[in-house]
Symmetry: D2
Subunit: 434 residues, 4 copies
Amino acid sequence: MPTESESNAASTAVAEAPPTASLTERFKQIRNFTEELCRPLVTEDYVVQSMQDVSPTKWHLSHTCWFFENFILTVEVPSYQSPDPSYAYLFNSYYVQSGERYSRPHRGFLTRPTVEEVYHYRAHVDRHMVELLETASEDVIQRVAPLVELGLNHEQQHQELLLTDIKHVFSMNPMYPVYRESGSSEESAPTQPIEWVEYAGGVQEIGHTGDGFAYDIEGPPHRVFLEPYKLASRLVTNGDYIEFMEAGGYQNPVLWLSDGWAIVEAQGWEAPIYWEKHDGTWCLFTLSGLREVRKNEPASHISYYEADAYARWAGARLPTETEWEAAAQGVEMNGNFVESKVFHPVPLDHAAAETPAQLFGDLWEWTSSHYSAYPGYKPAESAVGEYNGKFMCNQFVLRGGSCATPQSHIRITYRNFFPATARWQFAGIRLVRD
Amino acid sequence: MPTESESNAASTAVAEAPPTASLTERFKQIRNFTEELCRPLVTEDYVVQSMQDVSPTKWHLSHTCWFFENFILTVEVPSYQSPDPSYAYLFNSYYVQSGERYSRPHRGFLTRPTVEEVYHYRAHVDRHMVELLETASEDVIQRVAPLVELGLNHEQQHQELLLTDIKHVFSMNPMYPVYRESGSSEESAPTQPIEWVEYAGGVQEIGHTGDGFAYDIEGPPHRVFLEPYKLASRLVTNGDYIEFMEAGGYQNPVLWLSDGWAIVEAQGWEAPIYWEKHDGTWCLFTLSGLREVRKNEPASHISYYEADAYARWAGARLPTETEWEAAAQGVEMNGNFVESKVFHPVPLDHAAAETPAQLFGDLWEWTSSHYSAYPGYKPAESAVGEYNGKFMCNQFVLRGGSCATPQSHIRITYRNFFPATARWQFAGIRLVRD
Amino acid sequence: MPTESESNAASTAVAEAPPTASLTERFKQIRNFTEELCRPLVTEDYVVQSMQDVSPTKWHLSHTCWFFENFILTVEVPSYQSPDPSYAYLFNSYYVQSGERYSRPHRGFLTRPTVEEVYHYRAHVDRHMVELLETASEDVIQRVAPLVELGLNHEQQHQELLLTDIKHVFSMNPMYPVYRESGSSEESAPTQPIEWVEYAGGVQEIGHTGDGFAYDIEGPPHRVFLEPYKLASRLVTNGDYIEFMEAGGYQNPVLWLSDGWAIVEAQGWEAPIYWEKHDGTWCLFTLSGLREVRKNEPASHISYYEADAYARWAGARLPTETEWEAAAQGVEMNGNFVESKVFHPVPLDHAAAETPAQLFGDLWEWTSSHYSAYPGYKPAESAVGEYNGKFMCNQFVLRGGSCATPQSHIRITYRNFFPATARWQFAGIRLVRD
Amino acid sequence: MPTESESNAASTAVAEAPPTASLTERFKQIRNFTEELCRPLVTEDYVVQSMQDVSPTKWHLSHTCWFFENFILTVEVPSYQSPDPSYAYLFNSYYVQSGERYSRPHRGFLTRPTVEEVYHYRAHVDRHMVELLETASEDVIQRVAPLVELGLNHEQQHQELLLTDIKHVFSMNPMYPVYRESGSSEESAPTQPIEWVEYAGGVQEIGHTGDGFAYDIEGPPHRVFLEPYKLASRLVTNGDYIEFMEAGGYQNPVLWLSDGWAIVEAQGWEAPIYWEKHDGTWCLFTLSGLREVRKNEPASHISYYEADAYARWAGARLPTETEWEAAAQGVEMNGNFVESKVFHPVPLDHAAAETPAQLFGDLWEWTSSHYSAYPGYKPAESAVGEYNGKFMCNQFVLRGGSCATPQSHIRITYRNFFPATARWQFAGIRLVRD
């Protein structure tokens, strides 16, 4: 995702607007789910920005309102008024065509609007949106539906960010706040070794083609030529990763990209973020608090640099995004998504089958592909489409969604992206071999 | 005040402990007043740290508890337990002899303890402190009273910081939150021109001598030799300061200290902090919100660099701290202190008399004296006294208290100190001439 | 090229060692040419490092010696001794397997070895290398020849860097030092408008295949699938670029990548580096000193961000590296290389033909391709091959060579790479359209 | 000395111009001595700036020319022309009234003018200056003589800086260049313990009074009141300082000023600058190269923070500048100055006498006095006097001169000043007790 922790904003790819009734229902359901995710939080939790990549919960709640307000309500509803004229400035993220905006690194300095006012803002926007969707003419609905669809996908992205951001905020606190009490407290059976699923390569069709929603950067569909490759049957686990650490992975520059090694040295990396050694035991900060590392869980909160170094150490490499997508075609999109309310990757409880496991959910999977335009890519003209391409620089593509991603949000063609340094996302490692 | 926005921690100068009863009363009164100052705030306001010099309100409320807990309760009350073991780590400011502490620039990352828990912490400490004061033997009281006195003065310093810090937090918000509604809305009569009050100089006795409480750095009392000088009859006003600005004060390097000019250029200073030009009119952010600059008010939130440049432009200079103290001897300590609940300097409403006006309250007055030890100064041995001297580097002394200072906290010998760059305090300019 | 301003170090792709005699001759010729390029310099010029990307001339001269010394002489000649034991530390660039090395940003702090000593170092290494090449057994030659070839290509890369670096050093000096007097002083005829050369796309073979030398990253050869595209018949000129500037290109965020716009704002970019406005006229600092911008010259010293923004403004885009390579196949590799000793791009003096002009020489051409591994890429095992892949992150590929590149160094498959921010190289813009 | 490594520029205190003849002789002698100090250097040594506080030798040689050119020749000699018009820009240090100037941190980027041109510049200025002094009317001489005197003192300050700066440059080089071969190679007899010389205090006259030259900040003379104190009979030695180090001085925050400790931690200070541990032995980089630390030599290259921490550990303190000056009154100004050409402090070879030893020469002595104006201080009006006061912020006064100071440059009233962080000067520790 872009620096603004928000991505893929525009779509012109929606062939048909969905039926009004169902869109309204989906609108209510998705907007409600955002608030449901906030239920474990106290007022103070909504305010803090623990690093520049993080936004306060309050800001996520408001910015998603602003998106509907700015791109739909102020355009379609002449009488619409925002609860406060400063919201347009405060809650614009990075849309320069939509006007000036509040400095991103200062979002944590805003004590007002209060959390209560923010919820009023949400109710205000919801009321006007539902009224619009229920009363507008068919013409208007045809015009508005793609934007609503976009706004809902946008909302879902912020559901994930809300979780990864509050996790980072909590991690700064030596009191180790708990977002949701965990059920299991024991480590389950060990994970089976990785097996390698073979793919023949050749000319492959890549990119979004169907009728449903997709971000513009998932198309146009196009052909690529792939050499044969073998994909790992599962994600790399904490147990695998500890072997890398114990083999001196963080001490050996030969394993690292040059820029990655510079960060290892400058920031003293010795383990993934959220790992802490207590009395000689590796512990892990999770949304259920601090506990021991479990070896059979997928290794999470890995940066690209760490994923790449691990793969080199393991005698493998990371897949390209086209290798990943070709392998994922035809695989059912089940997995540990946000709806499971575990908020953490879970161990694989079965042996590897013919199809790679954990392709969807659990953890985003780093690919070796820099985030770039597909051939023939054209961003939309207006502000809403202004920014899909503007992050096509110095980021890598991740695929498959995570335990913080809504299941309905993911697609085989979905392209997430983050800089090589990003560690606070639920991202892990899938290996590939030639 | 030191980098830790806290100062003058130790005193061994209290000759006699005050009577127990009255100390308990004062304890309750001062602790209550801190909470009274927080009444206009909503929960979200307590959390934010808008720059490194600022601490969140929550932190001020807790750190002042920690002071009593760490230096008195854990020493004198064997059964005492803090509500949470992490508080000792979270709320120690800079006392290395009291153990490790949480990183100062990260104080705004703490969502927990919640505001409610912080108030419980206060009640908890208050209950144990009052119980101690009411039930301890005379011996214990004799030993504890100076530390209680110190803790109360410490509390009062944080009352002032709490106000200056929340003002800075609010100033970052384009919604211009209001701490306290202002009464007057019109500018009153113009201020009389400055007159010059003459002093003969010679050998002067400087420093604290009496029985009452004073910080250790206010002594030992000693003699200094002063040349004759003339002190301005009042503070510099906004009207005076606008003349400096309109004469190109912020554009003329000849008026500035070399380091000051470097900051003017690097940070683009064009006016004091909290001044904003709206439609060609200078406005001022105050604790009562944004409003037009009033020319007859004392110019506030001035850094040392600005005060020094202004004085040079005005053909005068800033007083030394000994000149200030010698002039203040015998003057009544009345003025616009925090008890007036104006939270802003007020215009001088009478003509100059034989005594300089506004010496106390309204604004701290920058002196040209670097903050250094008086001859024979010895800090106390223990942690409580550890740090009075450790800030004696690269700071300037300010005198007289401000509209955010409790009146009972101020003394003629009181030495406040801040770096030359500090602008977020209620500090202003008093001129002197040879 | 990598952060270390040096790239593509290893090759295992040399099928046959060239005949010994000719290798020795080429060794002498290329080593001599490096020194010939230094002839216009005075002693002081050799010392300075004007930014971290730049190395002092002295360092280039020594580091290229170290390369032969470290990878060949110390391995093959048991009796070989370096003139000074500290050279191995001082002149290793980034080869961690070759031991510790002197801090890169401090290279400009080294007054010793002196320039004279550096030339002795070169003579010392040359003498031993020639002796080795002339006396070694055929077996040794077979083993050594690929490394010599690599060292010579490495030397040629530093010839280019030596020129771009001294240009940057000179540019910091208000005396505008002249490296080489310029011949022409007048602007010649205007350039013809861009025409568009069409390519059909489809499956294309990409990467190095022949017997001659190539860096390992130019292979393995592989197939890619291209959509049809149209390549501009010439480079973008200063005249073209001025239109972009005058249309507000540097003031319009919509044209820029998000990271690019952040730099435009942070560093106040208003024109390419080396452009200065004097009395309302755009002037250009060149290796022949400061002079007016000539509209018919290719626009040079352009960063990726600027190239990308220009292309967007022009309704076009930058080519991918495979589009570029497919178009270059079969085109003769003539052009304005370093041997012409102009040290600056020259205007195109003929109308566009069926083949795009200026593909080789004049300016490196930014492609939209992030620098990544070709399928099946494997770096060599030893230190010499250690680092080809370690720069595969956050850099873009450039193609075709420049007026500072030796002609014998370039290939159709040659992949140069720099970060999107790099401006001090001779890099320009070739447009492409779908 | 100020940030610009130059200080005390103006004087209006010269009562009578010295006789012309002798001034010309002194002019020649002092200007020659600067060049004599450069004789051990090779061309490359003149170019480098190893940190912002350091200037290249070339720059010192040129800036001192510029001083005479700018303040005397361009004013008094209408036909005078500088060798190059850019020199006025390149070699102005910080005199804003004399026009724009080249960025200080970029002085090491200037390869031109060459060293040879710089010597021509010196010869050019010398020729015109001598001609002026030899041919001008008595009126002109009267006017010019104080400025010449100032320029010569300025030149002498740069003689010292030239040495401390080249030492720092050389220290960055692992080849350990030698400025001047050292004579002695063995450590001599141990130093006698410190004794304490008592002073009665009371009202003291401080500041420059005589007819000779002094910087304006040395006056006006004035009275101060001192408590009784005892001054250490000699400087702190390396042996003394090693005891502090071995007692954990660099690990104990209680000994340090708060800002000092922050630097110890941030920069990993474990010893004075130029100390390096080789095979378990403390070595010292000197202008005669690297060699073992000798315990009987005065501890040098100490920052204020280290001096202050050492004094606290030793149960003493640093003297105020008035204590130092009062003690120095009547002491002969002999010592190890630059004329001895040792360029390093030497061990004290005799037992302590009634007078403190080493007050002059060897090492500047940190005082606890922030650098501030004396009562009644008025800087001169013009550019030449513009800057004496502009450094009166966040610096401490040092007294007595060093082994790099010309003997004729020093006075009992001489006030040198540097920030508390400065380590590259020949500065050491004199203790005092109440």
